[in-house]
Symmetry: D2
Subunit: 340 residues, 4 copies
């Protein structure tokens, strides 16, 4: 079976694995205080064109979200997210387990807008309710769509105005940055958000996520929170090497470009057959609505995720490509779609 | 500088890295539900000579402890540990952050005994106090000593009698198993403890810890706890491959043997100079008490950790070896000790 | 100003205050282990016609909810509630602060139905999501409506079938029991729910809530949870006396009858003026939709709560009566309504 | 049986109960925003001779401690207490349940000193350990002793110097203030501590505790924490009236004087018989060491708490007096002691 189920089925980009191999027998200081983490942070700062920020490296996405969010909020404060947001749905209550309510607001195309955030503020008026203090968005969203620069600017302005911390989960940021539908450059982010998570696991790294804290007061004692939540890797230099490799040149961008190019080919084949999409295709995740008869054929050779029953004869599915997706497998899928 | 500071300065044993390299471009199912995790679990079961148990793979030690302990305890229950136990001292309150008190009891040579556990029960008598429900020990202990089989049996019997869950943290288990001072075989553990953590990070793996749940009722929904605490690696097969490699043959044992052999040489050199140890040397951690004048010389070339001021002229230090320790570096250290 | 803002503006029913006075200088055992608590529990059991249950006394509603819910759930389990449920909206994230997600489902007239609970189960399918384990309903609901016996039976059957704990928050139960729109007797509850909270604060007591645990396995160590959450009153006998007084005869029922009778009069006056209600009036809370011009007049003399803007000229408000509401004040309000 | 078991066996001082009775049918605003709470706060400020502070009213001691401490600390911060401190021993892990470690330090006569606090700081050096941020002391202590002004000044200076929040639990403050062994006036406290809890439950109130926040930045959003933890009484004015009554004149002082006078008589009788005390008698709690033969006789008529086995023939017990202790009962106890 060929899997289009997710973007973490394979290991790491070869260049990364080679670098780990090369460093393997060299002694490094533990817990992220090594030279590789330092250099990786510098590379990220350079690409962001922002040096007034702190960078930390963690192992996984749920971990990154729960450590950062619980670090920022006081016990009675809450985070606003789209109802489709990863922290609201797919993290087994990780944020609530640290004591905080996720205020889930209705969303369109996986995106939160200023109206939704304003409404969340409107209904939380006094000490009998939680106090909204953070806004969480994902870009790309969980349904593969992208925020426009204008949309993020609106949210950003609103957050500043209302003293809300603005946190952007970029688990698939490489795909966002490389998308032809994207109008936000990496250097824009330091002006837009307070906290930025640049994903590695789904963007060419073996594992690992980089967390950039632009609002530096939120960095105070952050390493205590990392350690307490089991998120400080003993061999932290492993994370350092990977992000150094991804960000010292164009590698991060390239992993996104490949993933997007593979998705675009599949998207075109689906469109040519006249099928539509549940969410606008923008990045490495596609959500086509396919006839069940077609799906039954595809499922014999390919793995992907059933998303939602649309009607008795149609279902939307999630098809994901990545830096590791082989063109030959994409061609096989396209051929099957064309013949269906 | 040559580091004897810890056993996680280098990467992974070469065989492990090669296996990761080999698997790197093959698609695997995510979140630990792949074939490698399955095979690794079977290898561990075989070495334990116990098939009536569940095996999970996590990323780090603090993480493993906090996920397992919080999974087992009801909100008002507490875990008893030696005052020198890792969960009491060096995990930034990770257990308390999940809501549970660590009842720290006085210890000798880093070891908890039945008398201490009995005392903890004696002083917790009703609902105005926490309810002790788990006993946590480390073997090797945080100060490098080993429990005897008789000592663990006594604790084990006591726990069974008092319905206490018995959890053993074996972050450095390879060193315990390979020690000539050890009288507990790996096949003994299924009869001794309810929960066993077999360390990888400090025993030849790139990263990762294996958790064996002998008391199967404690396994119910354990994967929910893993996910919630950010401890379920997306590319879980990375952990599977590593533990498969460590436990399919003798590799785990061998990493411990090398670490111990290196420690033994250093220990002999120290003893021959007439210096004593703060804790009995048994495994890959040594705590010699050295004259400060000697330390000042050693610190020019070697890294290790100051442990405790013994008197105005003497300090105990922690010297750690590992599977990766180079014999030539050990010889350099010995030479310096001899010349001091 | 005359307040119809809530049902806790006054102290206690005279009979209760007299009993406290009488007992005041007698020595009682602490922490709810006294004779009054014992007798109060027996009185409640008798009225419930169920002796196979445990009864505890706590101080307030948010406290009762957070202690009971956190006592029952494992860390990754969640409670399903109507989106209008007290625990979801008006307890400052108290449930989340104990680590648990409140799964808020859309509701009609403040009521949860089987379809909503089924949907909550449908979207929580594996360990990447929280595990629904409890269903929380309020009767009367937060908007003054009542469940029918058939509705509660459906929920009850569904919960049993799906191993969900069924918890009913009856902060205003006296009003439900005394309502002419109610078809559930107090003796029905032992067959319907696992956990029942019988409110005192809003039903004639000075303060205090009674918690009945029908599913006795959930009672294990419950007093540990009470103490840990600061919910075990040192002078617990104060609670015992109050519930003894409320339940040894008809007092609890009577406090509800008075509150409902006062509400009914107001309701009739509103209806006669041709105004409608946002939620069906059934108990001691009314939510009339009034012209803003009328409201401006009423607000000069009376206190109540603005609920929702209905259109540019109309607003719904919450008017609450209680055991303590004076008929003369009701007549004054009616007169104003009639003249408006 | 006559109880000397604790100081919460009876209800409230008559004057307090009369005031509640008088106010019972008057409508008050809920949740502590009423005129009585406002006046009570002003009375307390006047007695403290400090108007630059906030005052809140809560229901019980464990509740007060857990709400205040969890409000102040960041997730990785800890509170230092004497090992005999109430939060360490007798609150069922209430502080840990909010996520924070209690760093328990050895104490003498129930008192923490600067050396112990310094040592706690010394052993918590980096992000692998919790961060000590608060110092908790009780006065009177849990064993009835009193801090001298000099002792509290030393701790206070140390806390200021090291940016530690200094919290004083005065559950039995009336007894401290009224003690002839005490050299700290109520007006001293605003200069000594950041947070002061003035107990009501054990000092003449029916129930309730007053919390004074001198360090006003810690007051920000405190009512959110109160509500979230179930500590905001709906009929908050009940607490207001009680503290108004206790602090508008000399009543608080007088409840302490009576309790101490009763204890002093018992103390003298014990001393005259040549028995010693486990802890220096200073307030309304006595810990005499009595022959077991004497105890057996006393236990036929009196209730008190066994404290510790001293040797095979002697046991220390806890004897507590209060504002409600009747002189005739004290005389009966004295007579029995004299005859023993």
């Amino acid at each position: 079976m060929i899997s289009f189920k997710n973007d973490y089925s394979e290991g790491a980009h070869n260049i990364i694995l080679e670098r780990i191999q090369k460093e393997n027998s060299i002694q490094n200081i533990g817990y992220g205080e090594d030279e590789h983490c330092k250099k990786a942070a510098e590379c990220i700062q350079k690409q962001l064109d922002c040096y007034d920020c702190d960078v930390h490296f963690l192992v996984g996405g749920t971990q990154t979200n729960l450590v950062m969010i619980s670090h920022c909020l006081k016990p009675y404060q809450a985070v606003i997210a789209a109802d489709s947001g990863h922290i609201n749905v797919h993290e087994t209550g990780a944020i609530e387990a640290t004591g905080h309510k996720v205020i889930a607001m209705p969303s369109k195309e996986g995106k939160l807008d200023v109206q939704a955030v304003q409404k969340a503020l409107d209904i939380h008026t006094d000490e009998h309710m939680v106090q909204p203090k953070m806004v969480y968005v994902s870009n790309p969203t969980e349904v593969g769509t992208l925020y426009t620069k204008k949309e993020l600017e609106s949210l950003s302005d609103f957050c500043k105005q209302h003293h809300l911390i603005f946190y952007l989960d970029g688990a698939r940021m490489a795909s966002a940055l490389a998308s032809k539908y994207n109008d936000i450059t990496i250097t824009d982010y330091s002006k837009l958000v307070d906290l930025l998570y640049l994903g590695g696991t789904k963007c060419g790294a073996l594992f690992g996520e980089a967390l950039v804290i632009f609002k530096r007061e939120l960095n105070e004692d952050f390493r205590f929170s990392m350690k307490q939540k089991g998120a400080m890797l003993a061999k932290g230099w492993l994370l350092g090497i990977q992000f150094e490799t991804l960000f010292e040149g164009e590698l991060y961008q390239k992993t996104g470009e490949h993933a997007n190019a593979m998705a675009e080919k599949i998207k075109n084949a689906i469109e040519q057959k006249g099928y539509s999409f549940q969410f606008t295709p923008c990045s490495n995740q596609l959500f086509p609505i396919l006839p069940n008869t077609v799906l039954q054929k595809l499922e014999k050779e390919f793995l992907f995720t059933d998303w939602e029953k649309i009607d008795n004869n149609h279902t939307s599915v999630r098809i994901v490509t990545s830096w590791a997706t082989k063109e030959e497998n994409v061609q096989k899928l396209i051929k099957q779609i064309e013949q269906s």
